[in-house]
């Protein structure tokens, strides 16, 4: 009997193997019964194979953007954005320090929230990812040819930059809205005088068609509510932008209670094409401001920070037709627009029901001037006039909704820890699946566009408790991957994420891969201190500054013996990687350096500063295992007493 069982087992094993080789596209329909493909097979990406999607997941309080492959959930890279990263010298080397400059000075950390991919004709185009810093309001641009942050702009008159950073359907603007209202203009005043004096700025940052560069075009100065999240209109609603608000009570203390009093708050519908007309017609006020615009140049491999001094302001009370308020129950959080642009979902986090507004009805109500009063000069539409439908009691604590492009919506419920699938138009609940636990955002690749790729949804959880091996009081946050190709969702995979994942953005890998750079051509390197060959390497003294023009290639530095440096000198290592091959970075650091290593890509130049405090001979070495002779890649700097008269000298191989 045993033997027969063994025989059957082998036959089945053979069949399973047979199936497993062909099933990469298998649908639940094809498989069934004993041959049902497992969740493991669906997320298995064989060694050497690539994932189908990139997922850009916000690093939350880590300040960074992490890049994962889907469906495997493998972490591919952490792109440093708003926080210093000693691994990549981000914010530590001389070239990138200006990227973290703000009107408050150099800031080494922030709280990254909502990545969004640039779009062309309403579809994700894989050129750039924009992401917001919540604490000290900024928007960053990550270039997907290098997966590096190449621009950061500070947002003035803002605080808690949360309803950001979402891109319009032709990447006309990336939009940022303030969560906290603040005095406008900022001044020394009593907090009790909040009402009427505090304002909320909605910022429209124009994007350059060529390079995705950011320029703060104008701000709409709104009443002192909290602007929580936003999304652009698309298709028929292209030209509009929708923001959820809460604290329409304008409370300045104990918001937990005081901001939950009103039965309804608003979704603010902003007609930004109208705003452009008002700007063109000169209906704006130019006011003084002070905000940083930091740009990293790929040719000089160096960032510059410029302080901008003014901003154009539109007052909605003076600009009829610019903003309308759509009453939405109970402190709506997420503000999500379906792929057609018709439905605007207000995820009222304290509401039992999910509210869906109709763009067509909104236009009609505006046309008919059916207003239910106004707030600070902004017309309020009637709830019933704009309502498309209600999803009745789908769960507790709705936060965010994404769409699969097949007529379905997926909403996360924080309190009841689940993802609920429901149908647009009929508003019926189709399926629900638990999350582990307390889910925040969710993401379908292409989710904020007219063309979602509805194969997977990932849910991003705030709390994991017992889901992974314990790691002391602090445990990982996580993402969970569901297959959404069938009628019912299927949980496939849990994977840990960095920091707290807020929103994420996903895109088919094929839209990004062809643009990915392999190295920087040396001949295009315009760094001020670049040296293009070993013959040009040198050491130059300017007072107490010593500039080392150094090169690196497998597996030596040139020069590698340097003498004549003195205690009290400020030594600049300007190091150029002469390699011109894919994936051959070198690193460098020197003993006692009060900064991070450099990790230099082929063809790139980077600089770190060393201020030697002790007399002696101090080694430096390559920090990135680069070749069989990596351990030989080293050198020495002789540091003499301050009053020594030893001349500068530098050699290699002598």
């Amino acid at each position: 009997m045993k033997k027969i069982n063994g025989l059957i087992g082998l036959v089945i094993a053979g069949l399973v193997m047979l199936t497993s080789c062909n099933n990469s596209e298998s649908s639940p329909k094809k498989s069934g019964g004993a041959l049902k493909s497992s969740a493991a097979e669906k997320v298995y990406v064989a060694p050497g194979e690539h994932d189908e999607f990139y997922a850009f997941i916000s690093g939350g309080f880590s300040g960074q953007l992490s890049v994962y492959g889907l469906p495997s959930g493998r972490l591919l890279k952490v792109v440093p954005v708003f926080s210093q990263d000693p691994e990549k010298a981000w914010g530590y080397n001389e070239e990138t320090k200006p990227m973290l400059n703000t009107s408050h000075g150099f800031i080494p950390w922030d709280d990254a929230h909502h990545p969004d991919i640039s779009q062309t004709n309403g579809q994700v185009d894989g050129r750039y990812v924009y992401i917001n810093a919540n604490n000290t309001p900024r928007i960053a641009k990550v270039d997907l040819s290098t997966f590096e942050t190449t621009e950061i702009i500070e947002v003035p008159n803002s605080a808690g930059n949360h309803s950001s950073s979402f891109v319009t359907e032709n990447s006309e603007y990336v939009v940022a809205g303030t969560r906290f209202s603040v005095p406008f203009p900022q001044r020394d005043m009593s907090i009790k005088d909040y009402k009427g004096n505090f304002k909320g700025a909605l910022s429209f940052i124009k994007l350059d068609e060529e390079d995705g560069g950011m320029d703060l075009s104008f701000q709409i100065m709104m009443p002192g509510f909290n602007y929580d999240l936003s999304h652009p209109g698309r298709g028929k609603s292209h030209g509009w932008f929708f923001f959820t608000t809460y604290n329409t009570e304008e409370a300045n203390t104990l918001l937990e209670v005081n901001a939950s009093q009103n039965d309804k708050d608003f979704i603010a519908a902003v007609n930004w094409k109208k705003a452009e007309e008002y700007i063109k017609a000169g209906k704006f006020k130019t006011v003084p401001a002070n905000y940083a615009h930091n740009v990293y140049d790929e040719k000089t491999h160096t960032a510059t920070s410029t302080m901008k001094k003014e901003v154009r302001i539109l007052d909605p009370a003076e600009c009829p037709g610019l903003v309308y308020f759509l009453p939405t129950p109970k402190s709506p959080h997420g503000c999500d627009v379906d792929p057609s642009g018709e439905y605007i979902v207000g995820n009222g986090k304290l509401s039992a029901n999910l509210t869906v507004h109709s763009f067509t009805k909104m236009l009609k109500a505006i046309e008919d001037k059916k207003f239910d009063g106004e707030a600070y000069g902004i017309p309020i539409l009637k709830f019933e006039d704009v309502l498309a439908g209600v999803v009745e009691q789908p769960g507790l604590g709705p936060l965010h909704t994404e769409f699969d492009g097949k007529g379905n919506a997926y909403t996360t419920f924080f309190i009841s820890s689940e993802v609920v699938k429901w149908k647009l138009d009929t508003w019926e609940v189709i399926d629900r699946k638990p999350t582990y636990y307390s889910v925040g955002h969710l993401m379908i690749p292409g989710g904020n566009s007219s063309k979602p790729f509805g194969k997977y949804v990932i849910a991003m959880n705030k709390i994991t408790k017992d889901r992974y091996l314990p790691t002391g009081p602090e445990v990982t946050q996580s993402a969970q991957l569901y297959d959404i190709t069938g009628e019912k969702m299927e949980l496939l995979l849990d994977f840990p994420t960095i920091g707290e994942p807020h929103y994420a953005a996903g895109i088919p890998a094929d839209l990004v891969k062809p643009r990915s750079k392999q190295y920087f051509p040396l001949e295009e390197n315009e760094h001020e201190y670049a040296v293009k060959s070993e013959a040009e390497t040198k050491v130059v003294r300017k007072g107490n500054e010593v500039h080392i023009y150094m090169t690196m290639i497998r597996s030596h530095f040139a020069p590698d013996n340097i003498e004549g440096v003195k205690v009290g000198d400020k030594v600049y290592f300007h190091v150029t990687n002469l390699e011109q091959d894919y994936d051959v970075p070198h690193g460098i650091s020197v003993i006692g350096a009060n900064t991070s290593e450099l990790l230099i890509m082929p063809g790139q130049t980077e600089t770190f500063v060393w201020e030697p405090k002790q007399v002696g001979v101090w080694p430096f070495y390559c920090t990135d295992f680069c070749s069989a002779l990596h351990q030989e890649m080293q050198g020495y700097v002789r540091v003499s007493p301050k009053d020594s008269d030893i001349d500068l000298s530098w050699t290699l191989g002598e």
Binding site: K3, L10, L522, R554, L629
Partner: protein, 162 residues
């Protein structure tokens, strides 16, 4: 019974092979082996060994050399200085061999193949393999020169002969 199990195992393995065969082929294209000429070329693998008729392993099969083109050689010198001189000096051994008289020892095809694909050469070419050993295992870096750029470097090397 045992033999039945064996046969079944064999069959399931066979199924596995058949079912995966076409996919596997696509993923790992079979490396084309260097074409063996009928008369094997004698190879001297020492650094100073002369192998003027041996072309190495790679895509460069034949290079016609005319009179030295000075303009091309100038271009080659510029590229050499920028991308190669960190490891090669003219007139002395450094990280890599002295290239003063390299064109007396090597065919232009071999030199170009070595520059264009040093990884393949140090794996498959007996001369390059030996050089890697002779030079302390320091692998030659692939500097991603184009074929045209590589050809100008050869022209530059031709001007160095003493």
């Amino acid at each position: 019974m045992k033999s039945v199990i064996k046969i079944t195992t064999f069959l399931s393995m066979l199924l596995l092979i058949i079912s995966c065969g076409s996919k596997e082929e696509k993923k790992t294209p079979v490396e084309s082996k260097p074409v063996k000429t009928e008369k094997p070329v004698k190879i001297n693998t020492s650094e100073e060994g002369t192998n003027l008729h041996y072309k190495g392993v790679g895509e460069i099969k034949s290079v016609e050399l005319g009179a030295i083109d000075q303009k091309m050689a100038e271009q080659g010198k510029e590229i050499f200085t920028a991308k190669c001189s960190a490891c090669h000096k003219i007139g002395k051994k450094f990280i890599g061999p002295d290239l003063q008289n390299v064109m007396k020892r090597r065919s232009p095809e071999w030199v170009m193949n070595m520059i264009l694909n040093p990884e393949k050469m140090t794996k498959e070419d007996p001369v390059a393999k030996q050089l890697l050993m002779d030079f302390n295992g320091a692998p030659m870096a692939n500097q991603n020169l184009t074929k045209e750029e590589t050809r100008t470097v050869v022209e530059y090397f031709r001007t160095l002969q003493k």
